[in-house]
């Protein structure tokens, strides 16, 4: 089962305003050879498009991993606004 299909099982209330932002794109391009956010994010939110990182924040599972797992602390992270984001039905 692909991660896209897994995320399809969940209920999201998506805010127009993203709650995740890369602070400095050039750090990703030039200073981060491993780019671990492409691997550990359980929702595959971070993707490599051409040579820049794009953020599909709509499917974020709010685990917080990218907040501390980015070796350059290059991600501005906050919770989605109250009531927005993922909502579990079983938990």
């Amino acid at each position: 089962m692909k991660v896209e299909d897994k995320l399809f099982l969940d209920r999201f209330r998506v805010d127009e305003e993203p709650h995740l932002r890369i602070i400095d794109g050039s750090v990703c391009q030039h200073k981060c050879s491993d780019q671990p956010c492409l691997y550990f994010c359980p929702a595959n939110v971070y993707r490599l498009e051409k040579d820049r990182i794009s953020i599909a924040y709509e499917g974020c599972l709010e685990c917080g991993s990218c907040r501390i797992g980015c070796p350059h602390l290059n991600i501005e992270w906050r919770f989605p606004r109250g009531g927005y984001g993922v909502s579990h039905k079983f938990g």
Partner: protein, 434 residues
């Protein structure tokens, strides 16, 4: 919100709701602020819950329609290699009869919602869909309430309990708790797989309403320090697998792919066959242990549950520590309110209660366990593979004398792990839990 409260609680998880139940019951004006659209909507766990700790807060919880999935009568421990593995299990009828509410499974979205209803019935106010963005301080740096992302923003309270869980930018921002380092948390993913009640009863060999827990170590975490579990719910199974976040980053393993491989393991596949995935989730587990516990209270505030890093890795106990720390926090707050002393000194009852309880005693006892797992990767790689091969050889009947087999196996083990290293693993392992 113009109104002022006695106590503001951040987070409607087991820690926050437990405190709210006890405070509201004593007539304390209490508000719980929760970022999810309802309590539990953001929360996950494997789903095992403990009757003892809940009973201390709500003695009549079974009669109040607590949404229990299955009462656990058997616990299994698996140690897996690529093709198979060892299974150790313990079952006792007592868990089905006399101790029905010892350990049971719940879905946290349902349980937390129900739990919050009980707190509401006692008079606590619940503000859902609201993120606490910062704490309010007075000119002497004492905490006097919280800031929220609502238009009518600030909320004043004599005391604030941070019960916002392990992923707490709030605790970090306010200097109570440093940000966890990637090796101090595990990142776990969970999938809920729907099956019929009959299928579950058959596959796990249990009566209706009874269930099984399986804790799993070995190669399924791909050489990383981690654990997997399978728990039975009424009409579904909870599958979780997780590993240390720094390991995941280093090994470049994608958590969802690790879950897929886990589901295909020959010990797992027959249990979930024909089941339908219905939910996928991710969350941290607070694995830092005793040494990562922050300062637990200060002027005007306390911190409890996962937010205070209270989690027992070895016994996967977290929600019970959260509930009981919430209870202790409530008791200490009642004392402080009575004395009118909201300083750190006035809240000391919280620390002494924790220190004298099983919470600190257990976490102290297993202080070294997390480090043991971290520094002995063989536990997740060569050791399970070798142990499995050993059993396979011994159980294969092919005319080769057992003595010869043992010799070959021993040599193979020595080639993988030196005898000194092996001794070290057993010695360190024993010391970390003794």
């Amino acid at each position: 919100m113009k109104e002022a409260f006695d106590v503001a609680i951040v987070g409607a998880g087991p820690a926050g709701i437990s405190a709210a139940c006890l405070l509201a019951d004593q007539g304390v004006k209490t508000i719980v602020v929760e970022r999810g659209e309802y309590p539990g909507s953001k929360n996950i766990s494997g789903g095992v819950l403990y009757g003892y700790d809940l009973y201390q807060i709500l003695p009549d919880f079974p009669a109040q329609n607590c949404p229990i999935e299955r009462n656990i009568v058997e616990s299994r421990l698996w140690y897996l290699s690529k093709d198979g593995g060892y299974s150790l299990s313990y079952r006792n009828q007592i868990f089905a009869q006399e101790r029905k509410q010892n350990v049971f499974t719940v879905g946290r979205a349902k349980f937390d919602r129900w739990f919050a209803e009980q707190a509401k019935k006692k008079g606590a106010l619940m503000a859902c869909g609201t993120v606490v963005t910062d704490l309010l301080r007075d000119d002497q740096n004492r905490i006097v309430g919280v800031q929220t992302d609502r238009a009518d923003g600030d909320l004043r309270a004599k005391l604030v309990l941070l019960a916002d869980g392990v992923n707490s930018p709030l605790a970090a921002k306010t200097g109570f708790r440093p940000e966890p380092k990637p090796h101090q948390v595990a990142l776990a993913v969970k999938e809920v797989i729907e099956l019929s009640e009959e299928q579950i009863q058959e596959r796990f060999n249990v009566e209706p309403n009874n269930g099984v827990t399986i804790e799993i170590l070995g190669v399924v975490t791909k050489g990383m320090n981690g654990i997997a579990v399978i728990y039975t719910n009424r009409k579904s199974l909870s599958l979780c697998i997780g590993a240390n976040l720094s390991d995941l980053a280093q090994h470049k393993v994608k958590p969802y792919e690790m879950m897929e491989d886990f589901k295909e393991h020959p010990m797992v596949a027959p249990l979930i066959r024909g089941g339908k995935s219905t939910e996928y989730m991710a969350h941290w587990i607070a694995e830092g242990g005793y040494d990562s516990i922050p300062q637990l209270c200060g002027d005007g505030f306390l911190i409890g549950g996962d937010s205070a890093m209270l989690f027992n890795t070895l016994h996967r106990e977290g929600s019970n520590l959260a509930m009981t720390s919430g209870r202790f926090a409530a008791e200490a707050m009642l004392e402080a309110l009575e004395k009118g002393d909201f300083s750190r000194h006035g809240l000391q009852g919280y620390i002494s209660r924790l220190q004298n309880s099983y919470i600190f005693k257990d976490l102290k006892k297993y202080k070294r366990f997390g480090q043991f797992l971290e520094t002995h990767p063989e536990l997740f790689t060569s050791l399970p593979e070798w142990a499995s091969q050993a059993a396979r050889e011994i159980l294969t009947v092919n005319g080769v004398p057992k003595k010869e087999k043992q010799k070959v196996l021993w040599n193979q083990l020595r080639a993988k792990i030196s005898p000194m290293r092996l001794l070290r693993i057993f010695w360190d392992g024993w010391r970390s839990v003794k």
